[in-house]
Amino acid sequence: MGARASHEAEAANGAASRDCGGRRGSCEDSTPEDISAAGDITADVAVIGGGVIGHGIAFEASRAGRSVVLIDDAPGSGASWAAAGMLAPVSELHYQEEQLLELMLESSRLWPGFAAAIDAGAACVKTGPAGTASGAGTGYLTTPTLAVGADAADRRALTDLRQAQQACGLTVEPLTVREARGREPLLSPGISCAFDIPADHQVDPRLLIARLAELLDAEGNSCVRRRAAGLLWEDGRVAGVRLAGGGSVRAAETVVANGLGASALDGLPPELVLPLRPVYGDILRLRVPGHLRPLLTATVRGMVRGVPVYIVPRQDGTVVIGATQREDGPADPNAVSAGGIYQLLRDAQQLVPAVAELELLEATARARPGTPDNAPLLGRVAAADGGDVPGLIIATGFFRHGVQLTPAAAAVSRQLMDGTADPRWDGFRPDRFSRVPGTSGDSHNKEAA
């Protein structure tokens, strides 16, 4: 839908201005006709999946001097299209998820450099003939987050959570309601508490993907608008990707980054179980009328009678309100839940009454790729002989944290390609659910097959 149209427009603009920094000659989005005419495509790296994670990994590989082919029949139209883009290691902390926190914090450390690299590349692209193509940036903002509670029990819950956050060395400072409303005058006078979280920031995932696509294109990489059918194997290693409808992409490294679609790929190592499940989320985008701007300057994350809601203000005068978590399995996976939207608006209005005055632009629902421990499936996969399967990297299962973890996923993937993997991230290996025979993963995988 919209994602695809805008992405194509951006890509076309990028292609017109590829001279700046481009190493290889031409890059054009490959159509099925191109591939059947040209036979196989060859590159250093094939990335399956064009969401934030796939784009981030492709960008990092390209920056490291590798040629990349990104494979997706509708790039940026999955969970990334819905995502609010909060970069929130602190307010996303849940009890007993300390290992995930380490990766979240690592990604936060990488975010400024990652965003700067994109901006630098985009500025370069912009000097090309199609000068209007870029320049909107990624919407990366280091404005703080305010955590607020609606009633007394919410205040107690957020106060308890703050203790866990502080025990992890995170900064969460209590504000009086008056102080919070001094900073954000449209906050309801009735809130029960407020906390300042300076380290939680934001980016606009739609802009992020558009910029990354432009840069990949300008660097001479290609985007194949086709669905990946499965992995190509050669002499015990993964040698690329078989495309649906024929043709293939041959590559020294293949990265599986297509979210929930990962477990449906043909040719995954037979003992590998990827326990992904869809966790649906509804999210709203609204325009703030001129007289109410700015509605907020900080991202507001609220707990309203025990239920979380957030309001993310964008630079363009819109806000994002999200997000539900549903596991109800609707017939149309992108169907928006009326009850979900009602709850989001009800709770957001309780925190910021002026939400009722906004113009509703869009209600979107997508499925996030959830895992049993809420942590990603990121890394290489053990082979039967004891080593790792050569040529294969998995990067999926990012659940609520795909945007936040994009620079980390990109860096970890690059280290794996360079042979300099960091043992700190071994706990996220994608085969961690596959090792004990007869476990849950095995049985449901058989049923699904």
């Binding site: 009890y95 998820e97 499940r277 025990g306 549903r326 596991e327 399995g329 421990d373």
Partner: protein, 279 residues
């Protein structure tokens, strides 16, 4: 049932049953024998792994799932977790506001899960999440007529609880306090009255905040306790699950052991020399 009679033989029976490999003190409902008197809900868990660990730690053998919230069709879902841990599913109609909603949801559950057990929840409004007594009675009648085994989530109203039993409910499940509040058992006297008059199992359902609340429910004579939030939203759900396992057992044993009467004045635990023992 569950009269406060002292039964000196009970511990021996328990020991003998345990030695024979049978559950020491089985909870029998609709002919099904369960080894645990703790029924767990699943809502509010931070992760599937965390939920699995909490369920295992709690020792539960029966777990209720909101059919409106979880799809049995998804692979790798909550339902698979329950199958893997050999835990029986009690589908519930959470989120239903009318008898019609509840009956349709129960039918969906029966088709998807091949069980005629249903925990019937018909909620009056979102602010209290209290049962709507009129719709609850209506839905119970309809579901019993359709062959369901109805576990009726009800107000702590002895009149309503008996009415539901008379209409054919398999178990009555009075609330201790509104769902998710953790306020404990607000009207213990009513719970005792419900237990005293019931001839079907009584399960204390909703409002449990911490382990002592569950122990109290069992001491009041309930046959089992159902809870979710108190475990799933605890800071360490697995540890809290284990706490509830012990609490339910402790409350049950205390009920069977027979508590001492409450007295106004102190009574030395060792009787004075030379006096006859009257106890």
């Amino acid at each position: 049932m569950n009269e406060t009679t002292l039964n000196p033989a009970a511990p021996d029976v328990v020991a003998a049953a345990a030695a024979a490999g049978a559950p020491a003190d089985p909870f029998v409902v609709d002919g099904v024998t369960l080894g645990s008197r703790l029924i767990m809900g699943t809502g509010g868990a931070p992760s599937l792994d965390g939920l699995g660990a909490a369920l295992v730690a709690s020792g539960t053998e029966l777990t209720t799932v909101a059919m409106r919230r979880y799809s049995p069709a998804e692979t790798g879902s909550l339902f698979q977790l329950l199958v893997d841990h050999n835990i029986r599913v009690l589908p519930n109609t959470a989120g239903c506001f009318t008898a019609r909603d509840a009956v349709l949801t129960a039918e969906l559950a029966r088709e998807a899960l091949e069980t005629d057990w249903v925990k019937l929840e018909v909620i009056a409004d979102e602010h209290t999440l209290l049962p709507d007594a009129v719709e609850l009675v209506e839905a119970t009648e309809q579901l019993v007529a359709r062959g369901f085994k109805v576990f009726a989530y009800t107000n702590d109203d002895p009149v309503l609880a008996l009415r539901l039993e008379n209409l054919g409910a398999t178990a009555v499940m009075p609330l201790g306090a509104p769902i998710g509040t953790g306020l404990g058992i607000l009207n213990p006297h009513n719970i005792e009255l419900i237990v005293a008059r019931a001839s079907v199992p009584v399960v204390l359902d909703a409002g449990i905040g911490t382990a002592s609340d569950a122990a109290l429910a069992m001491e009041l004579g309930c046959d089992a306790v159902l809870l979710a939030t108190a475990v799933t939203r605890a800071q360490d759900p697995a540890l809290m699950g284990e706490a509830f396992k012990h609490a339910v057992l402790a409350g049950r044993l205390a009920k069977k052991a027979g508590r001492i009467p409450r007295r106004e004045h102190a009574l030395a635990s060792s009787a004075m020399e030379g006096r006859a023992e009257f106890l």
